[in-house]
Point group: C2
Chain length 214, copies 2
């Protein structure tokens, strides 16, 4: 089965739901489930089965009427769509608590993120190691990128430093930036930037709490 | 102007975009912008102006044809919809790197999250303070909740502990759970749970990078 997503057609909202499907399918796979109906799968995730079928239809004709999806096949196909399986060499800039939390999160490595070096501007950290990875001065980032093949740059600095770091990452040739600083980082030449705002999900929580009271 | 969102009608996708509008409007407010057209505002955010207008229409009739939105009014209205302005007393369970990163993030306090106490099962942390907040044993969580009026419980424990902590939070009477453990926490009695999967935005990044290459 060939996966031919048309990037001009697949809405971002669909793409953002794929990781959720992927996680649930992994759980089912670990439970040794072989098949699952779209109704049961969508129920576990908390969406309607028509939305699930609609989403998956963007990528091909999966499942069979009255027969369901093969768990392992669908898991592999979604992983393939998401680009899992490939390895992404990465650097992380900003060795504060959030940076350390990300470095220690095993799930990232499992999905292909391979950290190669860490950068911070705290002089006391330079040339040390953290979690087995070399820690270098942020002023050495560009030089490092010029000599290594790094595809992803993760920014966990304060907001004030983020834009400059993003520009250095871009000049250094990374293909994608994953920004956690509480500000939107802009890329000049159109490399991919994913701005993650952890606080947004807090506001979603507040909204739901407020409306549950009414 | 009265804000009367109908919770049965507003799609979750719309709600999830509100924090993004809110952030951009705050930036404009800080820049002392008085008015903005839906075209300019949507351009800054990277969505179409028709989507912006459609989203805002769920909550009332804002803006005027050919005249735009009043920045401060719209900022306040969206803040009101999201439940910002109210204070949410909260506890956080799991004092690892991610927990510490959240505690130190000023943006949460600004939006009404007021941490009252921290919980962890590391004996060496008990009865210490972190960031001025008392740190208690996780085994004392239920007792604490019974005597305090806590509305939000934040879970930053490993996955293995998350479900049990969620049940204790629920028994203790919190109204909402914000879960960061890499697993989906289920609530028995239907209190609000927001599961935040930081890794999902990494997969979105990978997907975009993969498709930019094609």
């Amino acid at each position: 089965m060939t996966v031919c997503p048309d990037k001009n057609i697949v809405p971002l909202a669909v793409i953002k739901r794929l990781p959720m499907y992927y996680r649930q399918l992994r759980t089912l796979k670990e439970q040794q489930r072989v098949r699952i109906s779209s109704r049961e799968l969508s129920g576990m995730i908390g969406i309607t089965s028509s939305l699930l079928r609609q989403d998956l239809n963007y990528f091909g004709d999966f499942g069979q009427q009255g027969y369901g999806y093969k768990v392992e096949d669908l898991y592999n196909i979604i992983g393939d769509i998401l680009g899992i399986g490939k390895e992404y060499p990465a650097v992380l800039v900003g060795l504060g608590n959030l940076g350390r939390a990300l470095i220690n999160y095993e799930g990232f490595r499992k999905r292909g993120l391979v950290l190669k070096a860490l950068f911070d501007n705290d002089p006391s950290l330079q040339d040390t190691k953290y979690a087995g990875l070399p820690v270098k001065g942020a002023d050495r980032l560009y030089e490092y990128l010029k000599h290594e093949n790094i595809e992803v740059g993760i920014i966990t600095t304060p907001a004030s430093a983020a834009q400059e770091i993003a520009e250095t990452l871009e000049l250094g040739g990374v293909k994608g930036i994953w920004n956690f600083a509480p500000c939107i980082v802009n890329s000049g030449s159109g490399i991919i930037v994913e701005n993650t705002h952890i606080g947004d999900s807090m506001l979603t929580l507040f909204y739901k709490m407020k409306n549950a009271e009414n």
